[in-house]
């Protein structure tokens, strides 16, 4: 049976209040997406790969300091600044709201990363290497990126495609919860929620309707597809209430 697939638009809700900064998402992402290990020398060179990372910011002055965690990943902007500047169309927007990177097209001008307000793109300065033991542990669904090209978070597009194939085989639509990106799957506090906004049943609508919602650097007009829910600070609220 041939049917036109339903329109999709993938989004993610990141509840900063639930994030404990445990970095499980970071590890899951590295394992899922064949990201080479960030060695000490990579850090020294400032060339680490972290498609998702937990940025830690301190708030307040000592001794009243609070650590704030901000999970950072490609925002898959509807109006992505990285896309128009690529001379070879190596990055473009697909019809599911994903900002995709075509590794074979990329020539490595690095213009996209310069124009990304979220530092979400990573350049392969070296040929990626893994320890010998890891040779059979790479994910066969994900391309290993060679030297000289850009890469970034794909919203685990390989999982989306696999879920679509499975659904097609069972002659049904992709349902919410059929799959999750690696980061959302690994998150112990369910701070990351991924879903299709065109699907009214999706769990993501709960987060999208939240009053705490904000998006990063929204004033730039990039229309990010990652929505954040701000921190609930009970102490700050109390202090404000007492004042």
């Amino acid at each position: 049976m041939v049917s036109t697939p339903r329109e999709r638009k993938w989004q993610m809700v990141v509840d900063v209040d639930r994030c404990t900064g445990c970095q499980a998402c970071v590890v899951a992402c590295q394992a899922e997406n064949n990201i080479p290990f960030n060695s000490e020398s990579h850090f020294k060179q400032g060339r680490t790969f972290s498609w998702i990372r937990i940025e830690r910011y301190w708030e307040g002055e000592f001794p009243d300091v609070k650590a704030r965690f901000l999970p950072f990943l490609c925002q898959h902007c509807d109006n992505a600044p990285c896309e128009p500047v690529c001379p070879v169309f190596a990055t473009y927007h697909n019809n599911e709201g994903l900002n995709v990177q075509v590794y074979n097209r990329c020539v490595g001008t690095r213009f996209c990363q310069n124009n990304c307000p979220y530092h979400a793109r990573f350049f392969n300065y070296w040929e990626p290497v893994w320890p010998v033991q890891m040779r059979n542990s790479l994910n066969p669904d994900v391309t290993v990126r060679g030297r000289g090209i850009m890469e970034k978070c794909t919203f685990c597009v390989q999982r989306i495609r696999r879920a679509e194939l499975d659904a097609k085989r069972q002659e049904r639509e992709v349902r919410d919860g059929d799959f999750q990106p690696a980061c959302a799957q690994a998150c112990p506090t369910s701070a990351l929620v991924f879903g299709d906004v065109k699907d009214p049943q999706s769990r993501i609508h709960e987060g999208l309707a939240n009053k705490r919602r904000f998006r990063l650097r929204e004033e730039l007009g990039t229309e990010p597809n990652v929505v954040y829910l701000s921190k609930v600070d009970s102490e700050a609220k109390e202090a404000a209430g007492h004042a």
Partner: protein, 458 residues
Amino acid sequence: MQQRVVLPQPQVNAELLKNALRAPLWYWGIMAFLGAIVVAGSVAVGFLMNKGFGLSGTNRPVMWGILIVDFVFWIGISHAGVMLSAILRLSKAEWRRPATRAAEVLTVFSLMIAALHPVVHAGRPWRIIYWSFPYDFSRGLWVNIRSPLIWDPSAIFTYLTGSALFVIVALIPDMAVIRDHTTGLKQKVYRALAMGWRGTPRQWKLQIVAGFLLSALLLPVFVSVHSIVSWDFAVMIGVEGYHVTIFAPYFVIGAVHSGVSAVVTMMILMKWMFGWGSYIREEHVESLAKLLIVIGTTWLYFFFVEFSFALYSMESQEIALREMQAFTWPYWPLALTFILFSYIIPIPLWLFRKVRRNFKIMFWTSLLVNIGMWLERFLIIVPSLARKQVWPFDWSTYHPSAIEVLIVVTAYALVFLLLMTFAKLFPLIPLFDIKEGQTLSDDIVIGKRRVPALRVEE
């Protein structure tokens, strides 16, 4: 001007063709030295491509390093040619004559070298060639014309084609002179290059008309080239120091500032190297210095406007960036050197007639301008990237690696090498233009002296 000696034409030929026909020993010494640097640089580029761009000092987020700085710098230098040849030809400034060819040739070579920089700087340069030659019509894979990196080559190659034509049109009469002074294989080559030039009135008319037409056509291209290069930066919404609307005119006038200074440096070098004292005279350098005072001051105005616009917005990020550019280590010494070298030292000095007519001081001060302007591009490109956006977690810094420095040095050696090769093959001062200038000048008698004077054309 009154003391000008009118040289007989055979002497003009002999002196200006001296290097082209019989190069001295030191010439080959310089060529060998430059060649060695270029070989070393080529090895460095090969190494970079073989091992990966990790050999550079760039990182995340400072993805662009001194190779891009150098790219903007060389594009800037290339603005000298049209500024001097076209504008001065159209405005019939007599003193342009010995400077035009040097400026045009500098334009062509610096453009060629500039265009190499982004290619070397890319992660997979071989892919750029793969996507471009032959153009991939069969699969319908088009380039992204929204990207400034597509506008760039379009502008650069238009300018390169135009200025190469400009050089060739002006070379034809001189080719004929060399043809008549050589024998054997050399003569055959120059005969082909002279394209049947006989010096008939009709040929002269066509040559002059072509020169004027090309001047007029190249002017808009010249303004567009650096505007487009500035848009590489100005379109970037993600970087605070970049997306500024004033960038296009600011870059163009900065380019003219550095380009004309480079022509001054080059003319004085030519005078010293080839002993062309009777062609490149004090009055030429003086006129160029006067022009530079105007250009430099206009550039300074744009610089202040750009800086004060940034502060006027009262955006904390923008102000923090400016503060870093001007007051933080290691940028403040660079910023200080930049403003001292590109304006504060040279321009007030050039206000004095004695300085303007002194070749040594003019040589060093015009060199200072270009050091300053190189630093200006560095200060625009690197600090803005190092402090990109409000995420201090990702901020970084940048130290150029030895390989990058070597490649930058090679670019200078390569331009110099190409210029020297040109000087061996063709006269760097247009013979016909000098002779034309002499014919247009008339002797006038003041008291007991016969004094040559310029006839003013109507």
